[in-house]
Subunit: 223 residues, 4 copies
């Protein structure tokens, strides 16, 4: 992000934060006792350079996710990955719904390399990969039932994009009764500024934005 954009955002956020604080928004939900790690759309279409879906800063994001995977697996908490893919596109019977008319989904074919999770953060065989058709990992999937069945009360989020799939998933998470935690160093977008303003909105109303170190410490202390 350029210094110009960073400065512009700082001006906006400091005014907004003052309004939120004085009115009682931006409270912390806090971590619960039974977390899961949900990694949004860390498939090659998003993590690799070039291509319509490629995001910024992905090496840093992958590094942060690797650290979260390590401690999550050590602690045996549920680890989930998501990807977006269509299985069928004949005539107007595409299984991607209206999203296919708004954004360029052509490369997201089920089974292709583009929709496969990046090998640097590859799922283990006992980790769930949810294929979704929409931005939210909860909409039209069994993710909520899966997490609840495992007694999860807190969902730690990583991935992309902040203006799309991560944000919508976080909003749904609190509505479903989970405490959403977004790890600042582990999320990104492809638009300069979009990561920051969506983190700002989320922290005000939908979930807690926490640093990687705070999140790792919390996970290490579990049990």
């Amino acid at each position: 992000m350029s210094q110009e954009i960073r400065s512009a955002l700082d001006v906006i956020f400091s005014a907004g934060a003052e309004i939120y604080k004085s009115r009682g928004f931006q409270r912390k939900l806090g971590f619960g006792v039974r977390p899961a790690l949900v990694n949004i759309d860390l498939a090659n279409a998003w993590t690799q350079p070039d291509g319509a879906f490629a995001c910024d800063n992905m090496d840093d994001v992958i590094g942060a996710v690797q650290r979260l995977l390590l401690v999550s697996r050590k602690q045996s908490i549920p680890v989930i990955f998501t990807s977006i893919a269509y299985a069928m596109v004949d005539g107007d019977h595409s299984d991607m719904g209206l999203l296919a008319q708004k954004v360029p989904i052509d490369c997201l074919k089920l089974g292709s390399d583009a929709v496969t999770i990046d090998s640097r953060v590859a799922p283990r065989p006992d980790e769930l990969v949810v294929i979704k058709k929409n931005a939210s990992a909860f909409h039209g999937t069994f993710l909520s039932s899966y997490l609840h069945m495992h007694g999860v009360d807190t969902v730690i989020f990583t991935g992309v994009t902040m203006a799309g799939c991560v944000r919508h998933t976080v909003e749904d998470a609190i509505a479903e009764g989970f405490r959403p935690i977004v790890v600042r160093e582990a999320v990104s977008d492809r638009i300069p500024g979009a990561t920051e303003w969506n983190l700002f909105d989320i922290d005000a109303k939908f979930g807690d934005v926490e640093s990687l170190s705070t999140t790792v410490e919390y996970l290490e202390r579990l049990k």
Copy 2:
């Protein structure tokens, strides 16, 4: 919005729009053939000055909504209003879920003046008022079934706030299979800049942002 913030947003959006355009985002869904008008949280807690939930620019928003109500009623399309309210808060058994721990819901008691739709845009007896517990008007409500039962394919959105309830509802709308249209002059927020960056994100991925005049013209041409 100050000139300083407006300039800052312009810098950010022009860079982002170029990326989106060149990659095939920001396409238009277009209007469908059977619209409904959904007015998000135009209750007194949001529309009247002062108070934790009060939003900016509400007289203009109310004026725009009045114009949409007039043509929508003339055309007999479904008109829906939403509000947020809790019915019960004893111990930890509040029916507002975790949202009550993130934002200041104390004034939003079911049946109170705060959660009643502003009299300037009062619902008629045959118009649905959905009481919700979350940001999205679709989550934990029968709104989707109601709209689908009436054959609706397009949902025109007004109301507040862009960083919260309008945005989450729009995201859910496209996931549910509706074409979301957000009327620029008929939405707002309480944070400077938040209306603009959420309209920017929505137009890129979740729905079409249209002007009041374009929307009114569309409604007038129906049938």
Copy 3:
């Protein structure tokens, strides 16, 4: 139930039970560690004699529910009631959906005596009353989020009717990740035999059917 119907059902169920057992159905889910009590449609339209919705054997059902309420309140577990009601019926914009075209909902007006919970099992102010538009207490409501937010893993069901609202709610409960327990003495229907065949189907696939005494003992042992 007449002896003729009872004998007929016994013939059918004994053949069916043998098939289920030999193939590995009809397993017990068992009680979990954090239950809630959900009482389906114990409003006057269903509990009082006469009227389209009146059910059989309601004095016994009410007696069983009273016993469950007593121990549930002593143990401070979440207690929930449901009722069905429409708020609006103008033209085809009824908020009851297609159900209004299939069954006689005319008497179920929001706020009427018919949809008020029977005073013999009246909710306390801190107990949630969910107004639903469909058979399932989960569909189009925030019940799932409410239960999950309170860490509930087991839902104990009472009420009516077994062929309608109780059955659909139980099916949704297991899909949402809850262990459904149906208390045999606390449920009923208005059709001879319908209670029995729906309990039979549920016990085979969707939840555990338990006696009142087993359920009360479980609740008393909690903590």
Copy 4:
């Protein structure tokens, strides 16, 4: 079904039907204008003899479905198939939820022959196959969004089992705003009597039970 069971059911249903009729239940929803054909769990585990999930009378059911497929494809209405499959079962992190603890899912591995749609009614490449984790084809899937996006108002159901997946799916269908039509000759179960009592319950409250010939005639008349 034995004559003994058939007679027993007749006794029960005639008493029940009289109650329903006199009280205003068992109304017809009627066919709408834009149908889809949804075939529930016609995979080999259910359609082939032997095995835990095998159902009765499947050659007749397949024959009826073939006739419906022929006219549905001629009329270009959406055709959907469902199957149940798990992708992962390590420790307690199975993606099948609590259903795996109630019924014998061991053979239902994703990609196996057991969960593949019977070749006699094989899906075409442009027809959607929904893999579900629960009884209902709507729960935890994008089926509702898919149907709504295609403007569907009526869902014609075939498949198995009547006591499980077909029934729960039909109940959800009317709640989602669709007119459910169950084709009597195209559905079955593995328990004697279960097909009949679930059709009886559905026709009273959740959807219309129609004959194959009535349904085929309706489809042929479309447009």
